[in-house]
């Protein structure tokens, strides 16, 4: 099922990806080709097959809910694009 350009725009917005308007048809073409490849999955019946989430059938390991890391605020803020007074800076959210 080919992907329409407007569907590409909707998905791009959901993924928070700006895509140049002029490139949308190219993305629609390439993504449609990938979806055609993926459609090969429909050639096999999978009724009753349990989906496999982890190749070792492992479940998530839990740990006690205790603090194990020291304060690294300075180290993390040091690599941020914009900070002020020890806080991450973003454009105004509430007008």
């Amino acid at each position: 099922m080919p992907l329409r350009p407007d569907e590409v725009e909707t998905i791009a917005h959901l993924a928070r990806l700006s895509i140049d308007q002029s490139l949308i048809p190219e993305y629609a073409r390439d993504l449609s080709a990938i979806l055609a490849l993926v459609e090969k999955m429909n050639t096999v019946n999978t009724d009753g097959v349990e989906p496999m989430v982890n190749p070792l059938e492992a479940v998530q390991r839990l740990r006690p809910d205790v603090v194990t890391e020291g304060d690294q605020r300075e180290a993390f803020l040091a690599i941020a694009p914009a900070v002020e007074d020890g806080l991450y800076l973003v454009p105004r959210v509430i007008e």
Partner: protein, 484 residues
């Protein structure tokens, strides 16, 4: 000294025939001379390397050295290295200097290795040719008009060209094995969960595994030994004893059962390449192994299922790149949404964006059942095929790729053609199995890789089989002409 294996260099360092500083300087000089042509390194850490080498020489002098003390290696640029640029070959991380080390990096450092730098790769490890790198493609040392494979193309090319004797890599769908095959070196993807992924930039978390590239199976064993083992910081890392990999290398192959999956010798394998693999099979027969044909009936669906699961997981993992906390940020954002949209749109390259779009779509409520769940069901069928095959044989053998390295630009315009180059490597990731590619011969002067796939946590057997083959043949010692 640049064409020696890690085992040989380790012996020379221990015998004081060579110092770690001399070795490090010699390889830094080679990187200086050849990286302009190959583009295998994104970052070279010369000063730190020489400092590490000096410390290694001290350890050696004090008699405190291990097998890897003073051995220069390189890390793929998706391993976090404290204080050293870690770009993932993306504009998104062009300025990212991690405040911490990946567990693999820390463990190898503890073992005394010398890091020469960070290797080029496909952006976020998404690619099979190294052409999606923000820093430009890596060239194949056997023919610089050709791709080195991907995504670990920089690591493979650097090892093949004698810039470094070993390098880390990652493998999500073939990213260590396919470039190892294209560059004529040995590459091992361990079992899912064998090696910690803490500090490796995540791509597809149910598939990713830390991997390694070197010039011999023995060297892979030495590196894996230092890397493997439980790490509480990676929730998928398995708490299971690590065997002595080097001790098992010499094991005779009498009675070992090798399975040839019928599907690995049919469509998509060049006849000349198939002949190389058949000759390798004969070699194993001479070494005492029993050869048996087996079947992996769902292999043809592996690429399709992978290109749902991997992008879906990537779309979730890469949601963290938001232009706020680290990495690329667009200029003059209008508002917060514009900041997210443009930072991500400008920070990611085309292939990454394609995959994020495919993955986002697969997780939409209306497609989840037919796309993501369907792919996970097929994943189980593929996994079960292997379980059945391993009831009859101990190891599976086939070509790593259907053809040798292709030309730069040959497949980059057609993502589907690119995806299909991984048709023999993807299934091992879906099933979480260990798999190793080693040089088995040549076609038209280009290396050909043979793949061995083993049972879960049976890396020792793969290394044993590869080592015995390398004792009986010398394909792994053949070096590209312009880099001898």
């Amino acid at each position: 000294m640049h064409d020696k294996t890690i085992a040989e260099l380790s012996a020379a360092l221990a015998a004081r025939e060579l110092s770690a500083v001399e070795l490090t300087q010699a390889l830094l000089d080679r990187i200086e001379a050849h990286n302009g042509t190959l583009n295998a390194f994104i970052t070279v850490t010369a000063e730190q390397a020489l400092e590490q080498a000096r410390r290694a020489d001290e350890r050696i002098a004090k008699g405190e050295a291990g097998a890897l003390t003073g051995i220069p290696i390189a890390h793929k640029d998706n391993f976090c290295t404290a204080g050293v640029l870690t770009t993932c070959a993306s504009r998104m991380l062009h300025n990212f200097v991690p405040p911490y080390d990946a567990t693999v990096v820390a463990r190898l450092e503890e073992a005394g290795v010398v890091m020469l730098g960070k290797t080029n790769m496909d952006e976020f490890a998404m690619g099979s040719s190294n052409e999606t790198s923000y820093y430009g493609p890596v060239k194949n040392p056997w023919d610089t008009e050709r791709v080195p494979g991907g995504s670990s193309g920089g690591s493979a090319a650097a090892v093949a060209a004698g810039l470094v004797p070993g390098a880390t890599a990652t493998d999500t769908g073939g990213s260590v094995r396919q470039p190892a095959a294209f560059c004529g070196v040995s590459g091992l993807k361990p079992t899912y969960g064998r090696v910690s992924r803490y500090g490796i930039v995540a791509f597809a978390s149910s598939l990713d595994q830390a991997s390694v590239i070197a010039r011999s199976a023995e060297d892979l064993a030495l590196l894996l030994q230092a890397m493997a083992g439980f790490d509480e910081r990676d929730s998928t890392c398995v708490d299971l004893a690590v065997p002595d990999y080097r001790a098992g290398l010499e094991q005779p192959l009498d009675g070992v059962r090798i399975g040839l999956p019928r599907e690995y010798f049919q469509d998509g394998v060049e006849p000349e390449l198939a002949k190389v693999i058949e000759a390798a099979v004969e070699e194993y027969r001479r070494l005492g192994a029993e050869i048996k044909e087996v079947s992996l009936p769902h292999n043809a669906l592996a690429v399709a299922a992978y290109h749902v699961i991997a992008p879906a997981e990537a779309s979730s993992n890469l949601a963290r790149f938001d232009g706020v906390r680290y990495g690329y940020r667009c200029e003059n954002p209008r508002d917060l949404e514009d900041l997210y949209m443009r930072s991500r749109g400008e920070g990611f390259g085309t292939e990454v964006k394609r995959r994020l779009l495919i993955g986002t779509r697969a997780l939409l409520a209306e497609y989840y059942q037919d796309a993501f769940l369907k792919a996970q069901k097929i994943r189980r069928l593929i996994h079960n095929d292997f379980i059945e095959a391993f009831k009859q044989v101990d190891v599976l053998l086939g070509p790593t790729t259907g053809a040798p390295a292709f030309r730069l630009g040959e497949k980059s315009a057609d993502p589907v053609q690119m995806y299909l180059t991984d048709v023999f490597t993807i299934a091992a990731n879906l099933a979480g199995l260990p798999a190793l590619s080693l040089p088995a011969g040549q076609v038209d002067g280009l290396p050909v890789g043979m793949q061995l796939i083993g049972r879960h946590f049976d890396e020792a057997r793969l290394l044993n089989l590869a080592h015995r083959f390398q004792q009986a043949t010398d394909w792994h010692t053949v070096r590209p002409q312009n880099f001898e």
